[in-house]
């Protein structure tokens, strides 16, 4: 896998035709190898921002750069070698006769040679547990399986940067974590992952850094710890804080350790507090 580029937006502005601005003077850098969560209410511009990273949308104002180089002159086809995008609706991607072909489409479109394509396809089939249905028609599978197929298809492209746009809606928690674990592995190998989601428990578990968008502008940047510590910010952003965080806010005054994001962390912090008081 090629080394991930540093992605950056410089004062990017964008409007959809005949509509109010979707992005307003957005400046953001995404470092190579980080797991970033893009948060915000519906309509705040998360997908719009993410689609600027691979050229699907072009800024009306400002620039988008990869490793400092403006991507304006590169086609989406070329940029797809660097940044892959998994859309929310798997049925917007699926069109092949077999699952195997579906996974091979991406690598093949990127111009890889057949040997490499086959290798990546098989690896993705295994990783996502799709080997058993490799010869089946993807459109005929259940929703969870189709979701896995679309995620595997993006995974097989092997790009250094991956954008996951609400990849877990409709999945049970086990399937959701299995999917994200696979992309987390990629990140450990040096890849960058940008996750757009409303599920705060996933953010707490996977994200290293969060960017909060409101009305097309960046309103906050920080670790999940930093973000969840600010109730007012979450409320404004229409984000539902996990019960553990709400409870911690009331019962455990913030110490140096930062706000607990999971039941285990809460338990530990509460125990320490009890020990201190007792």
């Amino acid at each position: 896998m090629i080394a991930a580029p540093r992605l950056a937006l410089h004062s990017v502005g964008f409007s959809y035709p005949n509509q109010l601005p979707a992005l307003r003077d957005v400046s953001l850098a995404i470092e190579p190898g980080e797991f970033l969560a893009l948060l915000g209410p519906n309509g705040s511009g998360k997908s719009t921002l993410a689609m600027h990273l691979n050229g699907l949308l072009r800024p009306a104002a400002g620039q988008v750069t990869h490793d400092g180089e403006d991507i304006a002159s590169f086609s989406v086809g070329v940029l797809a070698r660097q940044v892959a995008y998994l859309f929310q609706n798997p049925d917007h991607m699926i069109f092949c006769e077999t699952v195997r072909e579906e996974l091979a489409f991406g690598p093949r479109s990127l111009g890889l040679e057949e040997g490499e394509v086959a290798e990546r396809t098989e690896a993705a089939l295994d990783a996502f547990g799709l080997a058993a249905v490799a010869q089946r028609q993807p459109a005929g599978l259940g929703f969870g399986a189709r979701r896995a197929v679309s995620a595997a298809a993006v995974f097989a492209m092997g790009t250094p940067v991956v954008v996951l746009d609400e990849p877990t809606t409709g999945l049970d928690q086990g399937a959701a974590t299995r999917l994200l674990d696979l992309f987390k592995d990629r990140q450990r190998q040096g890849g960058t992952v940008v996750l757009i989601t409303h599920d705060m428990q996933l953010v707490a578990r996977y994200a290293q850094r969060c960017v909060l968008l409101e009305g097309g502008a960046v309103s906050a940047v920080g670790s999940p710890q930093d973000l969840f510590g600010q109730a007012e910010l979450l409320r404004r952003a229409g984000i539902l804080e996990p019960p553990v965080v709400a409870l911690a806010r009331d019962l455990i005054p913030s110490g140096g350790a930062g706000i607990p994001l999971s039941p285990e962390e809460f338990c530990r912090a509460f125990r320490e507090q009890v020990a201190q008081r007792g």
Binding site: N42, G142, F143, G170, G174, P243, L247, D250, E264
Partner: protein, 287 residues
């Protein structure tokens, strides 16, 4: 009085190609619900939850075809045989995707659609439309196009359209899975109001364990085509190991309670945030 009675239900969709045989999606499902009960159905993805929801309103097997065995009785009627359109006045379904439930009408006319199908006179329709829109909190949006509304609003229009028909059984297939937190909140507020009303039997398919714990009288877990766990929310969620193996989540507060019990030897059993706050504050005060 039993509003839902499913006994040993087996169902398989028609095969993709003629001559093949498709696997059973449902393999011996048993389910009961009393009048006024709020029953939630959880389960791993592709376990057959949507299929079960469709079976409760007769769309499975009447519209889908396929092989079926067993009993499905809803509001006293045989859902396998009773014409679906007729059954709809007794048991109606709200789908997961808000987009594909609207027919190019204004909000008001969408809500009226089911009432037109029932052949009601205009003054009765007018009363029910006003009542339904009030119930879901969308009074004032009568003339808008549902397709231009937010996700939460769309789903509430769908709810109003179904509630206006005043069914005795309301089935919801993952009603909030496609919505953002704001929309989810809006929809659950409506469901809460319904629950307090006490008259309607609600069957909700959902994996939102926090809300399931908060709203349900009973919870059933569907896995590999059958009900593998059933009981009160507390009973079901206490089987954390089994749920985790199935890929399902457990309410965070319960996990906290279990963890604290392990570490501090306490006997906590809270499920929800408020309970936890009270229990732990009191404990705090004592220490």
């Amino acid at each position: 009085m039993l509003q839902v009675k499913v006994t040993d239900l087996y169902f398989a969709y028609p095969p993709a190609l003629p001559g093949e045989q498709s696997d059973w999606t449902l393999r011996g499902v048993d389910l009961r619900a009393e009048r006024g009960e709020f029953l939630s159905i959880m389960g791993p993805t592709d376990a057959g939850k949507s299929t079960l929801a469709l079976a409760l309103v007769g769309i499975v097997p009447q519209s889908t075809g396929g092989r079926i065995r067993g009993v499905v009785q809803v509001a006293g009627l045989d859902a396998r045989q009773h014409p679906v359109a007729e059954l709809a006045r007794h048991a109606s379904l709200v789908f997961q995707d808000p987009e594909m439930q609207f027919f190019n009408l204004s909000v008001e006319t969408e809500v009226a659609f089911g009432l037109e199908s029932l052949g009601l006179p205009r003054d009765e329709m007018s009363r029910r439309i006003a009542w339904a829109l009030q119930l879901v909190g969308l009074k004032g949006l009568e003339g808008r196009s549902p397709l231009a509304l937010s996700g939460g609003q769309k789903q509430r229009v769908a709810l109003a359209a179904v509630l206006a028909m005043q069914p005795s059984v309301l089935v919801l297939d993952e009603p909030t899975a496609s919505l953002d937190p704001q929309g989810q909140q809006e929809v659950f507020e409506v469901l809460d109001r319904l629950r307090r009303g006490g008259n309607m039997t609600v069957i909700m398919v959902s994996n939102d364990c926090e809300r399931v714990a908060q709203f349900s009288d009973r919870v059933a877990v569907l896995a590999q085509g059958r009900i593998v766990l059933e009981g009160s929310p507390r009973e079901v969620f206490s089987k954390g190991q089994m749920l985790r193996e199935l890929g399902l989540a457990v309410p965070q507060m319960l996990e906290v309670a279990q963890c604290l019990n392990r570490e501090l030897g306490t006997q906590h059993a809270f499920l929800g945030l408020e309970e936890a706050r009270v229990a732990l504050s009191t404990r705090e005060a004592r220490t």
